[in-house]
Structures are given as C-alpha cells and as structure tokens.
C-alpha cells in the first residue's frame, strides 16, 4: 500500500500536507552548483559542459527547492502523470516564500498548446497559481519533431521554444517543475536572451 495523497487532504482541500508526508521531502542544502543546485562544490560537470557551448553565459544563477527522492517521485508521479491537479497546492507556501520577493518577472516553461489540451492543465502554471505568484508567458513550446533521430539529437539540433513576440523584460526568472539535464532551461534562456532579456535566473521545484 502506498501513501495515499488523498488521505492527506480528506475533505479539506485547503489544508497543507500532513507533517509525516512532508518529512519525506528532502530540501536542498549545503554546497551546490551555482546554476542547477546539483550537490557538490563549484559548478557541476553538466553545467561546465553547457558553459562551453553556444549556451554559455546565459544564466546568472539557479535554484531548486527539493531533491528527487522517493517521496518526491511519488508526489511528482501523482501530480503530473495521474494528473491530480489539486496537488499543485502542496508546495504553495514554499514556492511563494522562494519567489514572492524576487525582483524579476516569472516566466514559466510552457507546454506545447496541443499537448496542453490533451493533458488538461499546465503543471508549472498551476504550481505558480496555487502559490499566488504572478507570471507571464513569452515562450511557445514547439511541437515534438518525430523522426529517425534520437530524442537527444533532436533536442540538440532543433529549438524547443520560440518567442511569442511580446516585449521581454530585462530581468527574468525561468520556472520549471523538474530539472534534469538542463536542456529545457538552456534552450528557453537562449530564446529569451535573443529576444532582449538581460539577466536570467533559473528556479525549479525539484532537482532530478
């Protein structure tokens, strides 16, 4: 029997998660990478690689709130894949605390419009809405190009996003739910920088 998220909420959906389940989440502390909050001293190997490509110098710094441990994995599975929309409330307080006073415009990583219709809700937007944080979209996610190339090759060659044409503010904080390879964030940052952003920071709920 797995911990049931339903039982956390009972009938009072505004209630925060019970202390026991919250204790399973692991906050990120200690020495971490400047850009992506991977554990360890200095810049991590992945980010070191990015800083030698055309994506170098795009990002001022980055921050993630939690490690992707077992508890977080089951949370994320239920939220994103089982589409339990109400779970966007779980980290409302923490997200608000981390982002409310940031002096930059919050830009969520978007979903492809067609995919959004299929999946019925945008995970990142919902997290921000639950945290009562204002945000603005400047990016449009391109449709996944199907073909013979592997996913990695496709991501490297074709851009993941394009600019929506609206005037981009100077200071931006890009927000996503889960940081894994950094590809999504770097692609997004590049489009925004090219469209006129000066300073871009990253924020993710979870560091995979």
């Amino acid at each position: 029997m797995q911990a049931s998220w339903r039982s956390l909420f009972m009938n009072d959906l505004d209630e925060a998660v019970c202390a026991k389940c919250k204790a399973e989440f692991e906050s990120i502390t200690g020495n971490t990478c400047l850009y992506c909050d991977a554990s360890g001293e200095g810049v991590c190997a992945d980010c070191m690689y990015w800083e030698q490509t055309e994506y170098a110098g795009l990002i001022a710094k980055g921050r993630c709130l939690y490690r992707y441990n077992e508890g977080m994995q089951s949370y994320f599975h239920q939220y994103k894949f089982l589409q339990d929309v109400i779970l966007s409330e779980v980290f409302a307080k923490e997200m608000n605390h981390a982002l409310a006073k940031v002096d930059a415009v919050i830009v969520p990583i978007p979903m492809n419009p067609k995919k959004l219709k299929e999946r019925t809700f945008a995970q990142v937007d919902s997290l921000l809405e639950s945290a009562r944080l204002p945000f603005h979209h400047f990016l449009i996610k391109n449709e996944d190009v199907q073909g013979t190339k592997s996913k990695m090759e496709r991501m490297a060659s074709s851009p993941l996003f394009h600019w929506n044409g609206e005037t981009v503010p100077k200071k931006i904080i890009l927000v996503d739910d889960l940081y894994t390879t950094g590809t999504t964030m770097r692609h997004a940052a590049k489009v925004l920088k090219d469209a006129g952003a000066d300073e871009i920071e990253l924020f993710c709920l979870i560091r995979g």
Binding site: Q2, R6, F9, L13, D84, V85, I86, K117, T120
Partner: protein, 432 residues
C-alpha cells in the same frame, strides 16, 4: 473483435487506456458493439467508483476550456474527469455452457459440509448467504463445492477480498482445483491476462472496473478493512454484480448489519483441525511505551521473546504504532539480530514473512496491517497495548486465529492496562 468482447464484457474501461488499438475500438463503437459512458455522470458522480460530486475536485480544464470535475477516489486507475469516457461491451452474446473440472480430494468436517450444503441451497434460490466462521475453520474449503455448482450452470463468479495478499493466497488454491476454468487474478499492478474469465479473484478496489458483470459475488473477509470502512467499496460490490445476483459473505466477525441483512446463514465455530480458537492470556505491561522509548525492553516481554528464541518458535509481536516499531526495533535486534520489523509499506514484506515461515527470521515486529495475510505453523503471538484502539475486537480475533496453528500451545496477551475493558472487547463478539 472476439478479444475485445472478452475484455470488455462486464467491464468499464477508460477509452484511451485499453490494450487495443484505438481504431478497433472506434469501429466497435460505430457498429454499436461498444457503448461509451461519460466519465462523470449527469448527476455528477464518478461512473467508475460512484463517488459523489461533493468529493469530486473541480479545476479549470484546457480540454473542456472551462470547469471540469475529476475523481480522486479512483485516481490510481487512471484519472476520470468530465472530459473522459469509459467504454463497455453493449450486449454480451450468450456463452455456451462449458465443462469445468473439479480437482479436489480433501474432505470436509461435518460442520463444514453442512455449511457448504447450505450455501448451495441458497444459490439454488438466488439468495444471499453469510458464512460466519472463526479463523482456521476452513472457510475457503466450504466454498469449493458451491463454486463448482455455479460454474456448471454457466455462472460468472467473482471472489473479492480486501487486500492483495489475501488475493494472492487464495488464487493458487482456486486455480489448482478448477484446472479447466479461465481464472483472472486482479490487484493493483497485476499482469494482464487473456480471455473471458469465468472466475475473477480480485481486490475489492478492482471491482470499480466491473459493471453488471457477475452472476455470483463472493466477498471474503467481509468484515475486514477497508471494506467495512469504505462505503464506496460496498457500492462497488453492488455495481460489479448483476442486479439479482446473490452475494456470499465470508466473515469471522460480521457486523450486526451484515448478520441481520443477509437471509441465508451458516456458522462454523470449530477450528478446522479440531482445536478451539486459542484463548488469550492477559498480562499487564506497565509503561511499555516509556520503557521502549528509553531503550529498554520490559522484563516480562524480554523473557517471553527469549523463551520463543530458545524454543525456536516463530513469533509475531504486535505493537500499536509504526513509530513505536521503528523506535524499538534496534532493541529487539539486540536479542537476536535476525528479528525484523515489517509494515504495510515495506518493499521486503513478502521476503520477511517467507523468512518467518522458513525459520530464517525468528520473529517479526509489526502493527495490525499484516495480521490477515500470515499463516505460519506454530506461530506464537503477543499483542502489546491490546487496549489500543487499533486492536479492535475484529483484529484481535483475527490475530488469535493466526496463533498456535498445528500446535497445541499458544501465547497471547502482554497488555498494558484496563483489562476489564479489554475482556469486554473479546467476549462481546463471541456472545453475539
């Protein structure tokens, strides 16, 4: 198309998530073989688990482009929302009678035999029946003959049990007897099985996925958690069976409602191997929580465990909370490093229980969650804090049913206090 019919007969399934190509389903819908059912009904109920609108969650849906309701109750089976559809086979074609084999050479005690005959009589007049039997009375064997009778007349049967481990224990026994029968075993994460099942052995949760399917419904451990706790599961039983299909309830501790509400009844109060249910020995164990938290095992309890270890008797030690188990397991491991704690979320649960059976693990420290799944010969049981709410009468009787099987000795007790109150808990269901 035959495979689709076998799969969807009596079942409701999310349209997008069947194991069949979407084109085949679309064609079957077009031909009228398959009916579509809105995920959330006009009355704002979940079509799969029948959860009512007050418990459904609403959100702004990009697909509906407006308010949408979804059901959290049966979420793990794939989300049902206002914009999803379920499908079912419209009008199942009659199935020709087939021959079933019955490979059982065991014999019944007179009281088992009587119960078995009474169940068959109830089935002949389509009447629901309660088998009220203590643990170890051989309830399952009582069902074999009625199952065979029902199969011979072409009935589709469901055996529902509250938890996966009960289903897993039951399934091989039924399969070994009805060797020519198509039997499916369903629980969360069970592998897909082909064909039309004449017998479905399933956890009660899995019944959400059936509708108007069964001619005979058997509810095992009808008293057990979570069936008694969750009205949705009761509704699921009613929804999964055909309207006039009888239900056989099997219970060691039926509620008054179940006794009053079921027209047919058989009682078996003797244990299968002729021994009466062990009577617990009560003992006081003052301040056990404090002692355990202060890193010492109360003397009485230590003596009891050491005796089990020296006699090589497998034991189960029940503690009232998981927290207390976690805090105290290092202490028990000091007596014997092979003693293990086990709880319902434990991924190694099966291995540990097997270890107890095989004598590799001398004893398990656990809470109530496990007590129904375990049958270990000559197991000795101590319930610590038997006055705690979690060990209600039903649980205590179940626990005692697990002890002393195949052996004349048993141990039971180790309570903290309020013995009178506790005796009340024990005696009341026996008088009834």
């Amino acid at each position: 198309m035959k495979e689709l019919e076998d799969f969807l007969t009596g079942r409701v399934w999310l349209k997008e998530f069947t194991p069949f190509p979407q084109s085949e389903i679309d064609q079957a819908i077009l031909q009228g073989f398959v009916t579509r059912i809105p995920g959330i009904t006009d009355k704002q109920e979940c079509s799969r688990c029948l959860e009512k609108s007050v418990n459904l969650t609403s959100f702004y849906c990009e697909k509906c482009e407006g308010d949408c309701l979804y059901c959290r109750h049966c979420l793990k089976m794939g989300r049902i929302s206002s914009c999803t559809e379920l499908i079912t086979w419209t009008a199942p074609s009659p199935r020709p009678l087939k021959t079933h084999s019955f490979q059982w050479s065991g014999h019944l005690t007179p009281s088992q035999n009587l119960a078995s005959q009474q169940v068959i009589e109830s089935l002949q007049i389509n009447r629901s029946h309660l088998i009220y039997a203590v643990c170890g009375a051989g309830k399952t064997e009582v069902l074999f003959a009625p199952l065979y009778e029902a199969l011979k007349t072409g009935k589709r049967i469901c055996i529902a049990a509250p938890r996966t481990d009960v289903v897993l224990e039951l399934s091989p026994r039924i399969r070994a007897i009805f060797t020519d029968t198509v039997i499916h075993t369903l629980y969360g994460g069970s592998p897909a099985e082909a064909g039309f099942a004449e017998i479905v052995i399933a956890t009660t949760h899995q019944l959400y996925r059936f509708q108007n399917a069964f001619d005979l419904m058997i509810v095992d451990e009808a008293d057990a958690f979570p069936y008694s706790m969750d009205p949705a599961l009761k509704r699921a039983v009613m929804k999964a069976k055909k309207h006039d299909a009888p239900v056989i309830y099997v219970s060691a501790t039926p509620s008054v409602q179940l006794i009053k509400g079921t027209p047919g009844r058989s009682e078996i109060f003797r244990r299968y191997h002729g021994q009466p249910l062990p009577v617990p020995r009560f003992d006081s164990l003052w301040n056990y929580k404090k002692r355990l938290r202060k890193n010492s095992i109360p003397k009485k309890l230590e003596t009891w465990i050491r005796l089990r270890l020296s006699r090589r008797e497998p034991f189960l030690l029940f503690l009232p909370t998981i927290e207390l188990i976690e805090e105290s397991i290092p202490l028990f491991k000091q007596l014997d490093a092979a003693i293990e704690a086990v709880h319902s979320k434990d991924p190694n649960r099966k291995e540990k229980v097997m270890g107890l059976r095989q004598g590799i693990v001398p004893g398990l420290v656990t809470s109530t969650i496990l007590e129904r799944g375990i049958t270990v010969p000559n197991v000795q049981v101590a319930v610590i804090g038997a006055d705690e709410e979690i060990f209600d009468a039903a649980a205590l009787i179940q626990i005692s049913g697990r002890s002393g099987e195949g052996h004349r000795t048993f141990q039971m007790g180790m309570l903290s206090f309020s013995i009178m109150e506790l005796l009340g808990k024990w005696i009341e269901p026996k008088i009834r």
